[in-house]
Symmetry: C2
DNA sequence: ACCGAACTGGACTTGACAGTCCAATTCCGC
DNA sequence: GCGGAATTGGACTGTCAAGTCCAGTTCGGT
């Protein structure tokens, strides 16, 4: 579908609530099954909406998928609060690690909601790829901010590149989550996160491991 | 589709060649578009087969997808030869890294053929998940073998765990490839691989970086 | 109280897609 | 050379799925 996603007209409170519920229902199903294997009928049945409601709020299925990407980006980042937003030390980084492992264990190793979507859409759905890339950039940007704070405080040496560290850590997260999803085991994420932390620790001025 | 994949009956040379071509054609399309967005008609048109040929060699689409997973596992590992199979030093690991970056650059950052499939199938297609997990295990097992050789030669210290290092390195690869695919940039893979190498280097007995 | 816009229900259309089936062709073993 | 199994061609069926359309209901502003 090639319609540009129309900015929604002014919604009533009731309309906004319905739209939000559609997005959340779709997000859950798409995370479990993938966008292609989630039909609009599935979303209708799971959330109790009608077809007219779907097409009242979204021009087509792709428009809904784009909203799901934005929603999952916010939800995935929010789930890492307050750890991600206040990252400023190796100690805080370890707290963030522990929180991620707990989230993954509680969620049943079904993979990263944003990462799985990014993998699925990036070769064929350009607007979706850009939105996923923006989501990853936001995520690694928050990590970068934390590493920059650590550098400003002198915990990380001046030669370290907070941008690269942010990308390295996010790579470890995504790879660990993918292997965890495939193996149905928390081990890969734990190992990947420990590598990521060791990478950051390598740049600390005390060389603490 | 719930039919168990029937082991193929004895094939003539011609039949075996056709079957292999179907698998390779399907593998290329599935890598570009994903399994769900690749129809059997797409495979037929791309490879010049008929529907009867597809169903002569494969009980259903899922059986074909399983063969594609096995094919991609072998092809992805073979593409890293000789580097992956002869890994026995930090120097060799760096040669492997360079080869992976070159492969990714040449392939156009379309993601890992095995990783993308693993992400797509792992929540809903159990046999496929197991085959992808086996593929990842084979890959990390080869890395582990290399790290075990390095440990046996004394290049890596006795407290290092080659198994964990194998998983850590593969996590970096998969995460780097996913971010590279999403960003359409080689940077994330390069950064992720350098983190992985630093992680292995951290365990070397000379502490060389 | 009424009107109109927003919201909701659900029947329907069209095309895609996996899979089935009938039949023709090819080729290898005897 | 022939027979039969393997291979190939392609029409067809049934179901799924995105999207359209008509109409009823709700609710807020006037």
């Amino acid at each position: 579908m090639s319609k540009t996603p129309t900015p929604p007209p002014a919604l009533t409170r009731r309309g906004a609530a319905t739209r939000a519920r559609i997005i959340e229902t779709a997000a859950d199903l798409i995370h479990a099954h993938g966008a292609e294997r989630t039909s609009l009928d599935d979303v209708m049945e799971a959330g109790g909406f009608s077809k007219s409601q779907l097409y009242h709020y979204f021009s087509d299925k792709n428009a809904l998928v784009l909203e799901v990407i934005r929603f999952q980006t916010e939800r995935v980042l929010a789930a890492q609060d307050p750890h991600l937003g206040t990252l400023d030390s190796l100690y805080a980084l370890r707290r963030w690690r522990d929180a991620l492992l707990a989230i993954n264990a509680a969620g049943g190793t079904t993979g990263c909601p944003l990462g799985s979507l990014a993998s699925e859409v990036s070769n064929d759905f350009e607007t979706a790829r850009l939105d996923c890339a923006a989501g990853f950039a936001k995520w690694s940007g928050l990590l970068e901010l934390g590493f920059a704070r650590m550098q400003a405080r002198g915990e990380i040496g001046p030669s370290a590149d907070p941008h690269s560290l942010g990308i390295a850590v996010l790579s470890a997260v995504q790879g660990g989550l993918l292997l965890a999803k495939t193996a149905r085991s928390g081990e890969p994420l734990r190992i990947a996160l420990d590598m990521a932390i060791a990478e950051v620790a390598r740049h600390t001025t005390t060389g603490a491991a």
